[in-house]
Symmetry: C2
Subunit: 295 residues, 2 copies
C-alpha cells in the first residue's frame, strides 16, 4: 500500500476507535440532566482531527503498547481538548459561533450548559485515566493535570487573551503556543508512551522534543491556513485571528518565512525520533501530516 494511503487507513481506524471509547465513556444520552449530557456529546463526538488521540496511539506503538492499553489516554486528551474548545468559544473568550462547520456548543445549548459541559468534560478526562487498566496512574494524572492547568493549557489561553490587540514577539508567541496547545500535545505523546514498555529518561526527553516541534508546527500551519483558508474548508470562521488583532506567525514572519518555519519544525520532529527507528513510523507520519495539512 502507498504509505500516504496506509497512514490514512491507520489514522481513520484510530480516530474511529477513540470515538467509540469516548461514546462508551460519556454518560448515556437519556440520563438526566439530558441537556448537559447532550452538550458533552455534541462537543466530544462532533468530529475533529483527533490529532491528540492519534499522537497517543502512535506513541503507544513506539513502546509496543496494545491500542487497547492506550484507549484511556487517547480518550482523556480528547476530553481535555474538547473542553478547552467549548470554553474558548464562549462569548467572554473568543466569542466564536462556528466550529467544525457547526454552531459552537454555547450557540447550540446556551452559555450556562456549555460552561458546565466543558467543566464536566475536564472531570471525564481524569475519570478516563483512573478507569484504565494499566500503567502508572499517579504519573499519568500528574502529567495531564499539569498540562491542563495554569502552567499549561489554561495558562496559554490566559496569555493569548492578554495579548489581543497587543504586540508579542516571536519568542513570546512561541511561549504562548507551547502552553496553549503544546502542553496538551506533549501530554498526549507522553501518556501514550507510558502505556507500554518503560521509557528511559532520555527517550522521554526525545519525545518532548518531538512534541514541541509538532505542537508548534501545528500552530504555524493553523496561522497560515487562517490567512489562506475559507470558512468552508476550515469549518470555522476564517481570518478570525487577524480580525481580532491577535499576533500570529504570519503577521510576525510573513507567509514565506512561516512556511520555512514549518519545514524546519518538521525536520526537528523527525530528528528527535531518529533514535527509535521503525517503531516511530506513525509518529513520523503524524509530523508529515501536520506539516502538510491543508485544512
Amino acid at each position: 500500500m502507498n504509505p500516504d494511503l496506509a497512514f490514512a487507513v491507520w489514522s481513520g481506524e484510530r480516530a474511529q476507535r477513540v470515538a467509540g471509547v469516548l461514546d462508551a465513556l460519556l454518560p448515556p444520552v437519556d440520563l438526566a440532566p439530558r441537556a448537559l449530557h447532550e452538550a458533552m456529546r455534541y462537543a466530544l463526538l462532533g468530529g475533529g482531527k483527533r490529532v491528540r488521540a492519534l499522537l497517543a496511539y502512535a506513541a503507544g506503538e513506539l513502546v509496543q503498547a496494545d491500542p487497547a492499553d492506550v484507549d484511556a489516554s487517547a480518550a482523556a486528551v480528547e476530553c481535555i481538548h474538547a473542553y478547552s474548545l467549548v470554553h474558548d468559544d464562549l462569548p467572554c473568550m473568543d466569542d466564536d459561533v462556528l466550529r467544525r462547520g457547526k454552531p459552537t456548543c454555547h450557540v447550540a445549548f446556551g452559555e450556562a450548559t456549555a460552561l458546565l459541559a466543558g467543566d464536566a468534560l475536564q472531570s471525564l478526562a481524569f475519570e478516563a485515566i483512573a478507569g484504565r487498566a494499566r500503567g502508572e496512574v499517579r504519573e499519568q494524572v500528574a502529567l495531564l493535570a499539569i498540562a491542563t492547568g495554569s502552567r499549561g493549557m489554561a495558562g496559554g489561553q490566559a496569555i493569548d487573551l492578554a495579548h489581543v490587540g497587543a504586540t508579542l514577539d516571536q519568542a513570546g508567541l512561541e511561549h504562548m503556543h507551547r502552553l496553549k496547545t503544546g502542553a496538551l500535545i506533549r501530554a498526549a505523546v507522553r501518556l501514550g508512551a507510558s502505556c507500554g514498555r518503560p521509557a528511559a529518561a532520555d527517550e522521554n526527553a526525545a519525545l518532548d522534543r518531538y512534541a514541541a516541534a509538532v505542537g508548534l508546527a501545528f500552530q504555524v500551519v493553523d496561522d497560515v491556513l487562517d490567512v489562506e483558508g475559507t470558512a468552508q474548508s476550515l469549518g470555522k470562521t476564517a481570518g478570525k485571528d487577524a480580525q481580532q488583532n491577535k499576533p500570529t506567525y504570519v503577521s510576525l514572519l510573513g507567509l514565506a518565512d512561516s512556511r520555512a518555519r514549518i519545514a524546519t519544525l518538521r525536520a526537528e520532529a523527525h530528528a528527535a525520533l531518529a533514535r527509535f527507528g521503525a517503531p516511530a513510523r506513525r509518529l513520523n507520519e503524524i509530523a508529515d501530516w501536520i506539516a502538510l495539512r491543508t485544512h
Copy 2:
C-alpha cells in the same frame, strides 16, 4: 476544655493547615500569567468555612490517618469547591457579584480570567491527588472525578439552572442537592477515609449515609439562612434564591418544617456514625456545627 471550644480550636487549626497546603500547591504569584495565578489565589485563599477540608481531616481521624496524609485530599476538595463557586458566580450562571463579603472572582479579574481560573483550579485538584504520598491514587481520582462531573456536582448545577422559576418537588430538590453539593461532600469524607487503615465496604456505606445527611442539612440550613440572614452576616447577597425564584426548602416546606428537617438529618448523621465510637468524634462535631451554624 469545653467541647464546643475544643472543636473550634481543632477546626481553626485544620482550616489554617489546609490554607497552608493550598498556598504551597498554588503556582507562585509572580509566575506568568500573573492575573490568572492571582485570580486562582483570590478564589482559593479568600476564606470560607473549609467544610470539605474539615470533613476530609475528620474522616481521616476515623481511620487513624495522620493529618499530613490527608492534606492532599483536603486540598483537592477545596480546589474543586473553589472552582465551582467561581463558575457558579459567572454572569451566565448565577450572576453574583458578592462572595464571602468580597467582589466575586469575575468582578475582580474579568470574566475570561475567572473562567480560566476555575478551569485551572479543577486541574489543580487532580494534581494535588496525584502528588500525594500515599493511598490508592486510582480510586481517589475516580472518586473525585465522578463527584465533580456530570453525574455529580456539574450535573447538580445543570439541574439547578434548569429549574430557575420552575417547580420542583421535595424529592426533585433533594436529588438536585445530592448532586450539586452532596457529591463533593461525600467525596471529601470518602477521600479522607481512604488515607488511613483500609475501611470495609459497610463502613464506607455508613460514611456515605453520614455524608448524605450532613450534605442535605448543610443545604437546608443555607436555605433557612438565605431567608433569615443579611448580606453582612452571610458575606453574600441575601434573599438571592427567592429573588431568582429558585425552589428552596423554605419555599417548599416553610421555615418550621425546614428546621425540623435539619434536626432529623443531624440525628441521621449521628446514627450513621454510631458504630465507629470515639474515633468519629470530629465527624459528629461537624454534623452539629453544620446543623447549628448561623452564618
